[in-house]
Symmetry: C2
Subunit: 343 residues, 2 copies
DNA sequence: CTGAAAGCGCTAACAC
DNA sequence: GTGTTAGCGCTTTCAG
């Protein structure tokens, strides 16, 4: 039952012509190679009738280009990344590319393996949120002229194209806002991480606090991509912050867990103001709605993919890299209303 | 700078042996082919030193297997699908497979194109939420012995492996629950769709209503994957349902939009009970929290991927197909408290 | 204008 | 035990 896939040779035989000619026609080089219109018509007709499609695999082997983009992100199930996945996919498809994704969990070993696998598949370009420690591999890719676009975070010392947001001013503004609303003991809750985006968020918070002569208090959780461990950690740590009158979460993953925990902890937390980096639909629906630093997801995706497509198009890699830094937007909601004054 | 990729021939030359031997060692056929341990050691050492990795591309061309699974879903940015994407990815990776995803938007033409592209890339198996009208293509794939696992919905007349949930009883139970709580004018809000999962949800609702001698009222929206159009449609339609005392949303996408709209519409909607198919984290956080029919995401993913891996492993496709129907769970929350009796 | 042929890197039947 | 060799299906240089 398995009808053999029809190949370019079959066409050549059936039509009694050379496969070279067919290949030229297939690749739109008909007039460049000055092939007769009759021939072109005949071949096209045959292709149409038989439903012949060239094997992308064989083509890739020959040309060294796979028309596949590797998308390496922390976790595809995270809405931030899956939203970007969708936007990137659409644009890639328009340009004839497909996407292979892989979740890294910010694990260097895993990421290294993924890159190796993708290189074996001749992936044409890499869009990646790199974990720390992967600098060498990234540099190597770039050194070999393979297009790489890094986003979400910055890799100090690695020259490549970047699309990031201004994390520092994101938390800086959020913190300033909290202080302006009358809060003094603002606690910053984050993952223990050396990733630049996390460090910048922390710096933004700390700077803002110091400028206002307030003492920064940072709570660090172990990174974990599922909710339960985060909630447990928060349940342990938050009650210890007896003076806290406001909390700023470094990511929406932590923040959403934090909301639940604060709700469970009950009355002591009633008047704690809440803000979070990374907007989330939950923040909209929570009562009170939660103030958040929103990342411009579409802008990020558009910049990432257009940078990538551009690099893919030009055959010779230019040595100048672009860094795109996008602004965040502080969405002020009910959770950071001006502090009630107690006597 | 571009150091040429080292190939199996290079090794053969360097070591003055045949590439066959290397290939055998590479593919773990060393003892089967009774290759001397010395040889094996020498080759492994060389491979290790040079960091040689076989080209997956060339291998695929030769073997006809790409070790890639195609994942065709409605929309990767939808949490339901991206969660499954993650679970499937992990299991696929363990078995040496990678995933290429593509969003279909339930569009037949688009899906057809995607399948064609993937076939040209020799994708080994397809995991797919098929749009209506794609039956022929699916049947063709199966006819050629290519593993296909369909999930989320059922394709009448197509014999293949399925992983679906019991949509009918999901809405049936939710509706019954609403009626038991004292609601009479339960309105069902859905997308206009002939997809089986949507029809089953509607049937479950209608049946439950009829059994209780109540009149089913179904509101159909045009399918759309972004929120704004859905909210606009709801803003137009919901106020017309003057008798409505409860609403059951057919998907969480509609439901989440519905919550916002109901909130905006304000006081008239105050006492309307709300339930939704597809649980969503927002439902947890909304005040009141929203009753939902939860799909067992992990179960779905596990069944899908293990079905796929099994089919991929056995060389000859057996003709018997499995259908896995999973139960949903009704999460009863505050939005469906017993109806207050007015005089 | 069209064709012959080399080769991308690998696998596996067949030889020795 | 190990080597020879014929492809997998396509692109592209070089001839004519």
């Amino acid at each position: 039952m398995k009808k053999k896939r029809i190949s370019i040779v079959d066409i050549a035989n059936s039509l009694q012509i050379s496969k070279t000619t067919i290949s030229f026609i297939l690749n739109g080089k008909a007039k460049e190679k000055r092939i007769s219109d009759d021939m072109v018509a005949k071949v096209n007709q045959f292709i149409h009738e038989t439903g012949y499609k060239p094997s992308a695999l064989a083509r890739s082997l020959r040309t060294g280009r796979s028309k596949i983009i590797g998308f390496l992100i922390e976790d595809i199930s995270h809405p931030f990344f899956s939203s970007i996945a969708r936007l990137i996919e659409d644009e890639a498809t328009k340009n004839g590319y497909k996407i292979i994704y892989a979740s890294t969990d910010n694990d260097v070993l895993k990421t290294r393996e993924i890159i190796t696998m993708m290189r074996n598949r001749q992936v044409d370009g890499y869009i990646i949120t790199p974990p720390l420690g992967i600098e060498a591999e990234i540099t190597e890719l770039i050194g070999e002229g393979i297009p790489v676009v890094v986003f979400d975070r910055y890799l100090p010392g690695v020259k490549t194209d970047y699309v990031i947001v201004d994390n520092f001013h994101g938390t800086y503004n959020a913190t300033t806002h909290l202080v302006d609303q009358g809060y003094r003991d603002v606690v910053f809750v984050t993952f223990r991480s050396l990733q630049m985006q996390m460090r910048d968020r922390e710096s933004g918070y700390s700077e803002a606090m110091k400028e206002r002569k307030l003492k920064p208090v940072v709570l660090e959780l172990e990174y974990n991509h599922s909710r339960l461990p985060i909630m447990e950690a928060l349940t342990d740590l938050l009650p210890l912050q007896t003076d806290m009158d406001a909390v700023l979460f470094a990511t929406n993953r932590i923040g959403v867990c934090g909301l639940k925990v604060i709700e469970h902890l009950g009355k002591n937390m009633k008047d704690v103001a809440i803000a979070s980096f990374d907007d989330d639909i939950v923040y909209n629906f929570h009562k009170p709605s939660v103030t958040a630093v929103a990342q411009p997801i579409e802008d990020i995706a558009n910049n990432v993919i257009s940078l990538m497509i551009n690099k893919l198009k030009k055959r010779h890699q230019s040595a100048d890299f672009q860094t795109v830094i996008l602004d965040t937007a502080l969405k002020i909601r009910d959770s950071t209303r001006a502090k009630k004054q107690h006597n």
